[in-house]
Amino acid sequence: MSDLPIKLSHVSFSAAATPILRGIDLVLRAGAPTFLMGPNGSGKTTLLRFLMGLMTPTSGTIEWNGSHDPAPRRRAMVFQHPVLLRRSVAANLLYALEQAGIEKSQQDKNCTQLLELVGLVDLADRPARRLSGGERQKLAFARALARSPELLILDEPTASLDPSATLAIEQLIARAADEGIKIVIASHDLGQARRLAGDIVFLHRGQILETTSAVSFFQRAQTEQAEKFLRGDLIIER
C-alpha cells in the first residue's frame, strides 16, 4: 500500500476567517527531495500538515494514491518541535515500530539498527525528554524512519540546531533520499535547499507562486517575490 502520489486539488484553508492557504494545486511523486520555501507565515507548515493528513482543508480535496483516507500508511513526519514520549530513547523507537505494525520478533533488531543509524546507541536507556536539541531531532528522525516510510515530511528539521547537529541531520536526510524515500521539507534555509533540494515549491501568502526544479529556481526565479526571497530581502507578510 502506497501513499504516493499525493494530489492536492484547489486546497484552501482558513482559520478564523483568515486565509492560510489559497487554491493549492500540487502533485507530489517519488523522486528527489522537494523543498517548500517561503517566508514565515507563507503556509509551509499548514501545507505539510495537509500532506500528512493531520488537518482537513476548508475546501478542496487531497488524495493519497487515489484514496481520501487520511490515515498514514507509508508516510511519516518530523515536527519542528518533536514531542517525545516520556520513556527511554529505545522505548520511543520500539513504540513507533509497534504502531507501524512491525512484528515483535523484528522490533529489537530494527531498534538497534535505527539507533546505530542516528548515532544514539549509547543513549538508548536515557529518558528521551532529557536529550539535547540535536539528539531529540535525531531520535525524532529515527522514529519517523521506524515506519519505513516512502514519504518523509520534515518541518524545519534543523531550525534550532548548531552546525554540527545540522550537518548530521542533513546527512541523514541525504541518505534517506538516496534510499528512495521521498522527502518533503519546509525550510527557509537557502543553503540547505541548495545542498539537498531536487525541486522547489515557493509559497507566498498561502499561494504557490512557483513549482520548479531547484536548479532553475536558484538560477532564475520566475516571480518578483521569489527573487526577493533569494536575495535575502525581508518579505513582510500582511
Binding site: 493531520l54 528521551a128 525528554r129
Partner: protein, 230 residues
C-alpha cells in the same frame, strides 16, 4: 499533657486491638483506591479522548462530585445495601466490603476528574505525533494513561487522602462494630465522644503519620520519576 503521654504509650505499646483498627483502615482505604482507580482512570481517559453529546455535562458532574459529602455517599450506599434495598440480598451492610464500596463511590469521581484533566492536557501535547504514527483510539488511551503515570500517582494520592480521612461513609455503612468494621476515623469519633482522649489522640497520631508517610514516598517517587522520565 497526661492524655498526650497516654496516647504515645498506647501507640508504642503495640496494643493488638489498636493495630487491628489501623490494619482495617489501610485495607479498606487502599482497596477503595484500587477499585476506584480501576473504574475512574479508564473513565477519565475515555472522557478526555472522546466527544459525545452531554460530555460537558458529564465533566461538570464529575468535577462537582469531587466534593461529595461522605455522609451522603454513606446514606446512598446504605440504602442500596440495606435488607430492603436493591442489593440487599448480598448481605453486605455492616461489613468491610460495604465500607470499601462506599469509599470507592466517594473517590471514583475524584480519580476520574483528575485523570481526565491530566490525560486531556497530555493529549494536546501528543495529538499530532500520535496521529502521525497512526495510533488507534484504544492504543491512544493506553499510551496517554501510561505517559501520564507520574501525574496519576498524585491522583491516586488525592483519592487515598480523601478515603483515609473520611468518617461519615464508613460509619454509616460499616456501623463501627468493634473488632469487625471499626477503623481509625470512626474510633476517633467514638472515643472522643466517650471521653477516652488518649486512644483518640493515639489513633489520630497514627493516621496523620500514615498519611504523611504515604505522601512522602509518593513525592519521592515523583522526584525520582521526573529525573528518570523527564
Amino acid at each position: 499533657m497526661n492524655e498526650g503521654s497516654g496516647a504515645l504509650q498506647l501507640v508504642l505499646s503495640g496494643d493488638p486491638a489498636l493495630y487491628n483498627i489501623v490494619r482495617l483502615s489501610l485495607v479498606v482505604s487502599l482497596s477503595a483506591v484500587a477499585l476506584a482507580a480501576l473504574i475512574g482512570m479508564p473513565l477519565g481517559g475515555l472522557v478526555a479522548l472522546t466527544r459525545f453529546p452531554g460530555r460537558a455535562l458529564l465533566i461538570v458532574i464529575l468535577n462537582a462530585f469531587m466534593g461529595l459529602p461522605p455522609v451522603v455517599v454513606g446514606l446512598a450506599v446504605f440504602l442500596l445495601l440495606s435488607r430492603s434495598g436493591p442489593l440487599g440480598s448480598f448481605g453486605l451492610l455492616f461489613t468491610p466490603t460495604a465500607m470499601v464500596i462506599a469509599q470507592a463511590v466517594l473517590i471514583t469521581p475524584i480519580i476520574a476528574a483528575l485523570t481526565r484533566q491530566s490525560v486531556e492536557d497530555l493529549w494536546v501535547e501528543y495529538r499530532d505525533e500520535l496521529n502521525a504514527m497512526g495510533v488507534k483510539p484504544f492504543a491512544r488511551l493506553i499510551t496517554l494513561l501510561y505517559d501520564a503515570r507520574v501525574a496519576l500517582v498524585t491522583v491516586l494520592l488525592a483519592g487515598f487522602g480523601r478515603a483515609a480521612a473520611e468518617v461519615g461513609a464508613v460509619m454509616i455503612v460499616g456501623g463501627n462494630i468493634n473488632g469487625f468494621t471499626r477503623v481509625m476515623t470512626t474510633s476517633i469519633a467514638l472515643e472522643t465522644s466517650k471521653g477516652d482522649l488518649p486512644l483518640a489522640m493515639g489513633l489520630g497520631l497514627i493516621l496523620i503519620t500514615i498519611v504523611f508517610a504515604i505522601n512522602a514516598s509518593a513525592w519521592g517517587l515523583r522526584l525520582y520519576a521526573e529525573r528518570r522520565i523527564g
